[in-house]
Amino acid sequence: MKKMKNCVVTKRELLDLIDRKIGEGKEVIAPAKQENQANFKRIKSTREILWEGPQTVIPPKAFLFPQEEELMEYEVNDEIKVKVKVEGKPIILLGIHPCDMNGTTLLDKVFAENNLDEHYLKKREFVTIIGAECLVPCSTESFCYRKESVLPLEGFDLFLTDMGKNFFVEVGSKKGKSLISKIARKTTPSDAKKLRKIRRVRDNLFDKEQRKLKPKLEDLPKLLRENYDSPVWDEHGSRCFNCGSCNMVCPTCYCFDVRDYMELNLKRGNRTRFWDGCLLTDFTKVASGEIFREGRGARLRHRTNRKDWYLFEKWERSFCTGCGRCGKACLTKIVDPLDIENELYDRWKR
């Protein structure tokens, strides 16, 4: 992505700008408090935004790759008419954490690879992403610093860093640039200096507070390859519900099922895709009843391998952003990739 000029805006002016947009009917989605956690919701005012953790229950992928998405509808008479639904609507995703921007960037890659998934890409085209840097860890489960995910790679239109009265703004796209062109002012050397200091403090804090990843990040594919037959998989797997919670809440899990539904008149129907997960028992089941990935441990291994081996090697980047959602969601505390990788590493070294 071509780097655009950074700028500075006052917080007041930016928030007023967003509130005006909301007033004009613009759909703005941001993390907001939900009980003792958080969730994305359509906000009526920027005052609702939860700028600092906890992490939202589900990631922003839901706005690009919805839980349930009609791919096409059809009419079956003597002729068959199929109408594909490729739709998007303009929304602003605001206050997105760096881990989730990185997750989105990875989804952008996989959905645009080879066979373009227009259903995803059309939605993506319409979305404006305004990220916000995390200056304190959002939860005890997160380990984004260990996954080099405290800053976004790309995939944002604007990226805000809180500098007290101002936001330091990294501009990622023309869309982002035009959004704030009226309120942006040039950065000064002291702004840049201040930003560096904020990030240094942030790095130190995250390094101190977040759990350590014992193997080197770049060694994860090798670690997983060499521990394919480790007993760790079945030990963790024996306590797995195969409930798929880890898949659902993951910002980079994008597997889906597709199902046809017919109306009662048996004339009109639709083909809809749903989130699916490799931890679910039937994920690999074919019509004959054969399940090609049998065993709770094997399914857990596949998910971990996808994140930190298969897709890591293919895209040269871990597909686990360290957001910590799966570790939080897992009732038996068996799925957290960092825990698993540390355990594999400890036993491997011995």
């Binding site: 009980e35 003792n36 195969n242 199902r259 009662l264 048996l266 997960g277």
Partner: protein
């Protein structure tokens, strides 16, 4: 195309599932247009015996029930268990875990000898069931989709994965993770309900039956960590899954 003839039948239950069908609103008209309903006590006094598809609600709990359901099976090409009582034995089966003489006395008093009640059973303990539409009561959307599937000659899609999937899709805060945690049967219960109970802060009680491969030891471990005793855990099972209602 000739409309298929359909009958609705009830055994021991609250008839809430048939009420759900009746409360489909506009969609009920679609149903009437797609099938000929020849037997539906809650909607019509007409009782035709020439049905091809039988929707059966309720559990089997008298010896007369057994005869009657066998007759229905003999007439219908397709038998569909409607709701938790037909599917799992439902709440009626709670009595199976009590002394039967006590239960009969409590229910019928000194007239107990007049009633031939037996242990409550799901209908597939007596007849072959072709399809199940689970839940207590059934879900409208799922009923419509499943009925369309059956008319199309297709096995209805009923998930075999746990309620957690639905619950996460709804972006709910997990009941186990609330400030005051609530023990929930979601991790071992069949999804498809859209996590209707957890979404309003109530525990899943397992009314859609257990998934085919529930990790019960892990679930019991989690419940114990949350301070539940064996008795509490059994109560959980007995609500709907006393007969260990894994769909057969």
């Amino acid at each position: 195309m000739k409309k298929p003839k359909v009958g609705f039948f009830e055994f021991t239950c609250c008839e809430g599932c048939q009420l759900t069908v009746l409360s489909l609103g506009d969609k009920l008209l679609d149903l009437f247009e797609s099938v000929d309903i020849v037997n539906f006590r809650e909607a019509s006094s007409y009782k035709g015996q020439d049905y091809e598809i039988a929707f059966i609600e309720g559990s089997i709990s008298t010896s007369k029930d057994i005869e009657r359901i066998k007759e229905i099976r003999a007439r219908a090409k397709i038998c569909v268990a409607l709701g938790a009582c037909a599917h799992l034995g439902g709440v009626n089966a709670i009595r199976n875990f009590q002394r039967q003489s006590d239960v009969r006395w409590r229910t019928y008093g000194d007239k107990a000898w007049l009633f031939d009640s037996i242990l409550a059973q799901p209908i597939d303990a007596v007849i072959k069931v072709d399809h199940v539409i689970p839940e207590c009561p059934i879900d409208k959307k799922e009923f419509l989709r499943a009925t369309a599937s059956i008319l199309l000659g297709k096995k209805p899609f009923i998930p075999d994965y746990p309620v957690c999937v639905d619950c996460k899709m709804k972006a709910n805060v997990c009941l186990f993770h609330k400030p005051n945690p609530i023990a929930c049967m979601g991790p071992v219960t069949r999804a498809g309900c859209g996590a209707v109970c957890p979404s309003v802060g109530n525990a899943c009680e397992g009314c859609r039956g257990l998934i085919p491969d529930p990790n019960l030891s892990a679930w019991e471990e989690v419940l114990k960590e949350h301070g539940l005793s064996i008795e509490d855990i059994l109560k959980f099972y007995h609500m709907y899954n006393g007969l260990m209602g894994v769909r057969r």
